[in-house]
Subunit: 370 residues, 2 copies
């Protein structure tokens, strides 16, 4: 859509959605009192036609609640057990509070609840959403797209998100830009991430520089881009490409313990471990001690995050790749707020749909374990 | 208001609030698009007149969002640092999810943000609210009352809450029932609490039964009823009434350390400590060890909560008073949901305003520290 093209009307949206003009209007003005399937059809028609409401209607649409939703795609038990989320929320909370916006944290028991989160987002209760810890095939990005709320993601989203249940899986990556456009609520997809691949390379280079050639990797959940990117970085640098030196895990201390046992059973000669986060590195350290292996003399260990007070409290203290988690949260909130301000000014067309990622650098922090 | 009294009209509400009928109607129907001060005036008039909207309007008022706000009157840093809140949220989350209601956690940086929380609650985004960790003089109960959302409190609220800034402080406790009525959003005040006073008595009786007569008490923040009630229970039983045996603290491990040092400096002959929660007991244990005092031989220590994995991980493991924190959260959610169901049925008058507390019993858990 350009400035000169005729602007699609509300009637066109209604016709395309197969609903009355009144229903289309109610959805455009917030969606209250309209059944969910109809809301979705109207929002989809709005997306597809690039409909921009007139000034009066738009002032309703852009009416601010001064509230931002935060959605963490993990069960609430994990949200409270992993300090990563607390740190990211701290950054988000500081930034939103500084702009007198209410932080609305939507907790769930699991993925089955994500449809309800989507309904809440679509219900006109928040101005935008910050979403993190997405997993592959999570329905959230699709739900968020249909909810039509501006969104900033924490971590690079993977657009093979299964948003359209009836879509041919083989076609998934062919129209990523198109889908990406929608997922941001009419603008381009925005996300904040650390340079996970480069951070992993730095870690493994450090281990190789210490003369360790049999480097094992305890991954995170590989349905998350952060874990997949760190695995890629590991593969970029490692010397011994034996697949038995890689064990998938889940970013938890217990998962790190399990993975370390597996790796030692398969390759008792390994002399270094790169764990995809500090919590799993802490679990690995416990298993190494239990097996009578000295760190770093027998096995050098390196983590990822520089999560305090974890990384400095392990025995020995953990060498790790630092990412500024609180700053990531702050930046996500800042980007969303600036996008919301931007949206309130007259807009003559949709954004380009080019995903815009802000990638933060990582730093190696040397302690005693490697 | 009784069944036979003439029902106040919307016009009467508008007149009392000094607004147009249209504005009063908009507020009654959700409050969207009306400036905050006017919303508050109308809601107050609704409260004062006991206005019940007609069937059609009420169906709008009682339109469910299937969302419940949780407000913890602490900065987000404490919410994530104290496992008490995670446990209570776990109970709430399970219960809300079982009824397909969205848990909407409203986080703040501090008390300055509570007005914003009140605005969000008044904005028609949730069906009700669960509120805990109230402190004396917190403006939240007053804000919640004006927001007009049904509420269940975690912990007995103290109605000297400063909700009316212009109210004579001396008159604060004379109309508690009246204010209580409002704070629940038109019904009686409901809260869930543990029997804090009885639990404290049990703890101190146990210490006295061990022959300890010089029992010190590390309190929680005394602007919270849970801490004040535990202090009362301590005073009910203790043998040595020396005020130097009581030190106010803040429910944190660091606060427990500070308080323990103070107490030992003032009364080096103390031979038992009752800490108002397990986290502060853990801090006290560290200081006792640092001073070379043996637990329980020299000083017996008892906590409150039975917070796992804290109470079973201290050295020595902590004897404590157990309260079922997760069950408290579950019960709060259950009470609120049943109240919301009740509200949707025809009602002919306001509730009685009698505060309704569900008080859960506590249990002494004996481990090694006392």
């Amino acid at each position: 859509m350009t400035d000169t093209a005729p602007r699609p009307t509300l009637e066109a949206v209604a016709a395309r959605a197969g609903v009355s003009r009144a229903t289309a209007s109610r959805v455009v003005n917030g969606g209250d009192g309209v059944r969910e399937p109809l809301v979705e059809r109207v929002r989809r028609a709005v997306d597809e036609l690039g409909y921009v409401p007139n000034q009066a209607a738009r002032s309703l649409v852009t009416r601010r609640h001064d509230a931002v939703a935060v959605v963490i795609a993990e069960p609430e038990t994990r949200v409270f057990a992993d300090p990563f989320f607390a740190l990211q929320l701290r950054g988000i909370s500081k930034e939103l509070t500084a702009h007198d916006n209410q932080l609305v944290l939507l907790l769930t028991e699991g993925r089955d609840d994500h449809a309800r989160v989507g309904r809440y987002l679509a219900g006109g209760h928040v101005d935008g959403a910050l979403v993190f810890s997405l997993h592959l095939d999570d329905p959230l990005p699709g739900l968020i797209r249909r909810a039509g709320v501006p969104t900033v993601f924490g971590g690079r989203p993977d657009w093979s998100d299964g948003e359209d249940g009836d879509r041919d899986p083989a076609a998934r990556d062919t129209d990523a830009a198109d889908r990406g456009e929608g997922a941001g609520g009419g603008g381009g997809v925005m996300y904040v991430d650390s340079d996970n691949r480069d951070g992993a390379r730095t870690a493994v280079r450090h281990l190789v520089g210490l003369g360790r050639t049999r480097v094992a990797h305890i991954t995170g959940p590989l349905d998350q881009t952060s874990a997949a990117d760190r695995l890629d970085g590991f593969r970029d640098v490692r010397v011994d490409a034996d697949p038995r030196l890689v064990e998938e895990s889940d970013f938890t201390p217990a998962g790190g313990e399990r993975a370390m046992r597996e790796l030692l059973d398969r390759r008792p000669d390994l002399n270094a471990v790169f764990a995809a986060n500090d919590l799993s590195a802490a679990g690995a350290l416990r298993v190494l001690r239990e097996r009578g292996l000295r760190v770093p003399q027998d096995v050098a260990v390196i983590g990822f995050d520089d999560m305090l007070p974890v990384a400095d409290q392990t025995d020995p203290p953990l060498t790790t790749v630092r990412q500024d988690i609180e700053e990531m949260g702050r930046l996500m909130a800042r980007l969303l707020l600036s996008r919301l301000d931007h949206r309130a000014t007259p807009a003559h067309g949709a954004d380009t749909g080019t995903p815009a990622g802000v990638i933060l650098p990582t730093t190696l922090i040397r302690r005693a374990s490697a």
